[in-house]
Symmetry: C2
Subunit: 301 residues, 2 copies
DNA sequence: CAGCAGCTATCACAAATCGTGATAGTCTGG
DNA sequence: CCAGACTATCACGATTTGTGATAGCTGCTG
């Protein structure tokens, strides 16, 4: 089992260019640095450096592992910073993360009203895919997330429903699928699929890859553009696709058993791992005044 | 200094509900689990669990640190997986990461031509902010990145210029800044700024926060929407803002010494930590045939 | 209420790991 | 060729880790 210290030494050697320089920078004995690298290599059963010259050079394996080692150390810094901030006080920021296909003018207008109500608070809007949003809320990077919901019980988060969104299967009008009066799943599988995939490589539970060939994108907007270029077919939100369907740039396919598309729940996640205060309360109350009804955010009665 | 093993034990206790259950799951002595948690608490000088009852309950501090501990272990899994995949073979995928404000129909049309040329290859388009894109290329998560470039030497990446993009300072027509014939920096500082900030909390080198109050977003599109709602002023790409300026929804401010906005380089980063093959070569050659000229992607002569 | 099962904490001890300083061998540039 | 800088190995002491035994506490059940 390797340690964070070993990773730190590994990265420092790469940054300084030699074991000795790393030792000097870290104020350690050079022999300890040499041993730590050797121990790390033993632990992972991989050679990280060529030592045939006077200064070590990264192996291909070392090159491949360095970014992840750096990433782990970066996360460690996050941990340490969090430890420090726990010893101090509040935070003056509120992070709202929203699925990229749920953001439109109306929603931002709704949220903008918070500016007058809380003039000192720094808000951050993070636009990302549903899985990334959920992960951000789970990890405490965002206090609020607006996402598509898959029915699984949410852990460490509060949840309330905001409405429903419809997803349609679309293709270019010049695509051969566009000539079918009924589109079976077998028809779809004959053609390349444009799949939504989050930064964590997760696919939505109702639009995952079923074709053997695929292109991926992490925004539904990009998917629509790929469909317009006739790269393939895709499942996308009606909220985004409507204008392109009306202009004839794409068309909604009559998929067997899904003539009206796929309806999915839109909800709001509220972090429990971030301290809650009056601002968070106000935001959740504001959101609960609105509902997403297929194509539009509307105010509840 | 805490270890990854201590973090793993911490997370396992939280998941199993007690020190004993964690010990059973991890096939360790309970006393070792107790010691490891105590040692972790000593290392970070924070109490993670209340032990006043029969089973431990997370403290507020424990709750705050758990997500980051999980994240670190997740990264460790990534490291371990990478170690394993180094022992195995190739990959059949190519990831292109693009700054969100540089994506438009034309660029996607350009890239879509790759579908016919490489029908078997899985492409992934990742839309993110410049810093995130750069980080992805640096960490080997993407082979190609299209970003704004700040003039710093790129480490572990190849680079070539694609063109230039202009950034404008905009505000709502009803904003008080819109009445000034010349806008000084001091004027801007009197009002809330809408700042672009990446997922890594990085701000662009020419549009960082100068006002004491700010709202943040990780897409320029969202910034424009905030400006339209008169939340504040923002520095955004002309490529995105032009249509809203022409329709009168926002206006470009005549900032002193920056009448024509800020011109910045757009470039293509190519990862060196991912193996290169014919597909990567074809993509880079395709991109080198095009140039971004302020408002539009055009084909070079 | 008493007994029992399950919980955490502490102790003693052995094993494992870590870090230092000394030393030897190799490489590189002047 | 020589001096300086490099890495590797060794011996050793210090520190950490893990086990098993033990003691004390909590919560449930009859």
């Amino acid at each position: 089992m390797y340690s964070l210290e070993q990773l730190k030494i590994f990265v420092t050697v790469c940054e300084t260019g030699s074991f000795s320089a790393a030792a000097r920078q870290l104020k350690r004995a050079q022999s300890g640095v040499s041993q730590s690298i050797a121990n790390l290599e033993i632990a992972i059963d991989k050679t990280l450096f060529n030592r045939d010259k006077n200064t070590p050079t990264l192996t291909e394996q070392g090159i491949a592992l360095l970014p992840i080692a750096k990433s782990m150390l970066h996360q460690q810094q996050n941990f340490d910073q969090k430890v420090q901030s726990l010893a101090q006080g509040e935070e003056h920021e509120l992070v709202i993360a929203i699925d990229e296909s749920l953001v439109n003018q109306v929603l931002i207008k709704i949220l903008s009203s918070l500016a007058e109500q809380f003039p000192i608070t720094h808000f951050e809007l993070v636009i990302a895919s549903t899985f990334d949003v959920e992960n951000m809320v789970k990890e405490g990077e965002a206090q609020i997330g607006i996402v598509y919901v898959d029915g699984e019980l949410k852990v460490d988060m509060d949840f309330f429903t905001l409405g429903h969104a419809r997803f349609l299967t679309i293709a270019s009008p010049t695509h051969s699928l566009a000539n079918l009066s009924i589109v079976e799943e077998a028809d779809l599988k004959l053609h390349r699929q444009c799949v939504h995939r989050s930064n964590q490589k997760k696919e939505l539970w109702f639009s995952y890859k079923i074709s053997p060939t695929a292109w991926y994108a992490n925004t539904h907007k990009a998917l629509i553009e790929l469909v317009k270029q006739n790269v393939g077919w895709a499942v996308v939100p009606e909220l985004l696709a409507t204008q392109y369907i009306e202009s004839g740039e794409v068309m909604s396919l009559p998929v067997a058993h899904e003539y009206d598309g796929w309806l999915t729940v839109v909800g709001c996640l509220v972090s429990r791992s971030r301290s809650s205060g009056p601002v968070l309360l106000a935001v959740t109350q504001l959101l609960q005044q609105y509902s997403l009804a297929e194509k539009q955010w509307i105010q509840r009665a």
